[in-house]
């Protein structure tokens, strides 16, 4: 268990109770998911019941209890993107990465998720990889997109 990482994250926040979601974001970014042991430690350290933390973690899509790949790919399947063929983009990604949505590649390089409307409808279909948004994505652009992030 990485106690030091949790300690370091928590110490960045002057106030704990109101910042739980912020803390969880940092933990998620650090580990690429929210490991159970670390969350239990966080609960003991902050005196926030683990059930409360677990509830919050379950509520938001952004948080994951399963390890995620280094590069997180989010395919928008919101209305606009759906109409513009996001399903095909998703399929192409699944084929290229040999995984299903919701899973991560074996080398933990990529994970694939679906999201709903990221507010880039005019660029539909949209895909977000890590912090970067790509618009007007077509299935044949997928290999290029992936190679850009392969070792990043």
């Amino acid at each position: 268990m990485d106690v030091a990482a949790i300690d370091a994250i928590v110490s960045k926040f002057p106030e704990i109770k109101g910042n739980l979601i912020g803390i969880l974001h940092e933990v998620q970014n650090h580990f690429h998911y929210l490991p159970e042991e670390e969350l239990r430690y966080l609960s003991k350290k902050t005196d926030i019941p683990i059930t409360q933390i677990y509830s919050i973690v379950n509520f938001y899509n952004r948080f994951s209890l399963k390890p995620k790949g280094k590069n997180e790919i989010c395919v928008c399947l919101g209305t606009a993107c759906h109409v513009k063929g996001a399903e095909k983009v998703m399929n192409a990604l699944e084929e290229n990465l040999h995984i299903q949505k919701g899973q991560s590649t074996e080398d933990m390089n990529f994970s694939l998720e679906e999201v709903r409307c990221i507010g880039a409808c005019s660029l539909a279909p949209a895909v977000v990889i890590n912090e970067e948004t790509y618009g007007l994505v077509t299935p044949n652009k997928i290999p290029l997109l992936l190679s850009k992030h392969k070792d990043g």
Partner: protein, 268 residues
């Protein structure tokens, strides 16, 4: 004393203290409003929506939930209009969609004239997502062993990481306040189990009664009583005697037992 306000409920002029909910005021007048998630000992959360009433007068004409809406001077409350009945039937149908075999729900439904549901889901977990169990554990017992997970249709109550709870003390308050029996508590031999339709939430070994030798309560639970009811008063629970033996001895009950002994655990 709180000052009184005047309002009408179903054409009857009534008085109620400020701060009281419509539901309480109606009850005092003997007017029945169906409820599910409301429990006298718990803070209302307004999750089931069954207790809807139509209001006008002091507040814009609208439908509100009576377990949360407070009385107000000049308020006109109707508990049984066509509009209310129609909406209530819809809510019941929706609740039945997931819990079609819950006896309590079926009773309420037939009282309100609902025979079937258009929303059957194929699932039947009896839990109506009222949250009473979560609230009693958090607000009254102070343990918070239960929590909500997921959203929408997937929403359910569980423990942290859906494992056997380390925090549960085995008091059984959740099972006791559950309106439909979706959470159960079961003592068998010297083991207590608390479980729902799909998960065992906690297991305990039961301590034996010093008098009759019957296994009757988990250690964690007794420790809790010690800590909260006794130690604060400078006392310590030393005689581990089950409620039955306490009764037999005609001594005043030292602590009210929530399970196996009758009374609510709110005395802890």
């Amino acid at each position: 004393m709180a000052s009184m306000v005047n309002l009408t409920i179903n054409d009857k002029e009534v008085q109620a203290p400020e701060g009281m909910t419509i539901l309480e005021a109606a009850k005092r007048e003997g007017i029945f409003i169906p409820t599910l998630c409301h429990h006298e000992a718990l803070e209302p959360e307004g999750t089931c929506r069954l207790c809807i009433v139509e209001i006008s007068g002091a507040i814009r004409h609208s439908i509100r939930i009576s377990c949360i809406q407070q009385v107000k001077e000049g308020l006109i409350v109707e508990t049984d209009t066509e509009r209310i009945k129609k909406n209530r039937r819809l809510i019941l149908e929706l609740l039945l969609g997931r819990s079609p075999y819950s006896k309590e729900l079926l009773d309420l439904a037939s009282k309100c004239g609902v025979m079937t549901s258009r929303f059957l889901t194929g699932e039947s977990d009896d839990c109506v997502r009222c949250g009473r169990c979560v609230r009693v554990c958090r607000d009254k017992i102070g343990v918070q062993a239960l929590c909500w997970v997921n959203r929408g249709y997937e929403r359910k109550i569980t423990t942290d990481f859906e494992r056997l709870s380390e925090y549960c003390i085995g008091c059984g308050a959740c099972a006791q306040v559950c309106p439909t029996g979706a959470i159960k508590i079961e003592d068998r031999g010297n083991e207590r189990k608390i479980y729902t339709w799909g998960q065992v939430l906690a297991r305990f070994k039961l301590e034996k009664c010093k008098e009759c030798g019957r296994p009757y309560a988990p250690k964690k639970y007794l420790d809790r009583i010690n800590e909260r009811a006794y130690k604060t008063k400078g006392l310590e629970l030393v005689n581990y005697v089950c409620p039955e033996c306490v009764k037999k001895a005609e001594r005043p009950t030292p602590v009210k037992m929530p399970f196996g002994g009758g009374d609510m655990p709110f005395a802890i």
